[in-house]
Symmetry: C2
Subunit: 181 residues, 2 copies
């Protein structure tokens, strides 16, 4: 799934600027299953525009730089729906956090505790963001389903970390493999 398709997906939900699209992947409804950067979004939007899959209009703002609002065209709509028909590639998950933690016995217990606390806080913050949006019955069924799954998975992750933190710290503290802080 390339940056172009991802942008089309965001634009199907309504008009948006490149900056707003990035936010959708950073803290918005797509944040828990996809990431992107400006370096991929802006070129993608230009390409989509050239292909006639989206149209842009300039929007002046006071005390803010102008923005370019893009909308999906009928042609863009059908291109997206075609793209949704492909078999999804396997999920990609990359977690330095879990890689590091899997060698917890070689790390100072204090650092392990700190890493876990940080991550719990991160999950709780993300959960608040995802749950707070009082849009439960305004968002389309698919988006609500995906959002619910994100919440379920993040909650399980945070709960697990909280429930097993002490046990891990205890185990690595009593082991002889201790490394100097």
């Amino acid at each position: 799934m390339d940056a172009k398709t991802l942008c089309l997906g965001v634009l199907l939900r309504g008009e948006a600027s490149g900056y707003e699209i990035k936010k959708a992947f950073e803290e918005g409804p797509f944040s828990h299953f996809h990431q992107t950067s400006f370096g991929s979004i802006y070129p993608a939007l230009n390409a989509l525009s050239a292909e006639g899959l989206i149209t842009g209009r300039a929007q002046a703002q006071d005390k803010r730089p102008d923005k370019k609002l893009y909308s999906i065209t009928p042609k863009g709509r059908s291109a997206l729906i075609s793209a949704l028909k492909i078999e999804p590639a396997p999920d990609v998950m990359r977690s330095d956090f879990l890689f590091i933690l899997s060698f917890a016995q070689f790390l100072p217990p204090r650092r392990v505790g700190h890493l876990i606390d940080q991550r719990i806080a991160w999950y709780r913050e993300a959960l608040e963001r995802m749950e707070s949006c009082a849009c439960t019955n305004t968002v389309p069924a698919g988006a609500a389903f995906v959002r619910g799954m994100g919440i379920a998975v993040y909650r399980a992750a945070a709960d697990y970390l909280e429930a097993h933190r002490a046990e891990l710290i205890a185990e690595i503290s009593e082991s002889a493999t201790l490394v100097a802080e």
Copy 2:
């Protein structure tokens, strides 16, 4: 976290060949939080060998091609432990599956059902693999913790999909946005 560090991590658990390292990321203890390909593993192993962080020995096998078994050196050990001290980069998650599902109302309900069923089966299979390994008290504390977290998260995902599948299908079936199969 680059391919070299990842390989060092696997080798800290014991001697292994490039092929076996890949399996660790494909179906082994690292599979739920990292992926790699041969194209990144073999060059990484050669580089690590040249730097003196690992040593290799050839192992002849009957009715199988020879393999090169690599072991981590003391220098490699300390290089890995240093690498574990860096702040972990944010987790990367990329799911075409969730992206597609978030537009479920534009897809034939049958296809949505099939996608979800496939994914449930995938999770259940992965869970069986992760749980079956009767190594609970043989693996080091860190690895057990990370494995437990993988199980908790995958179980939450599979349970969510099972619990909400029917609801989603019902919602998109009654909507007027139906698209021809």
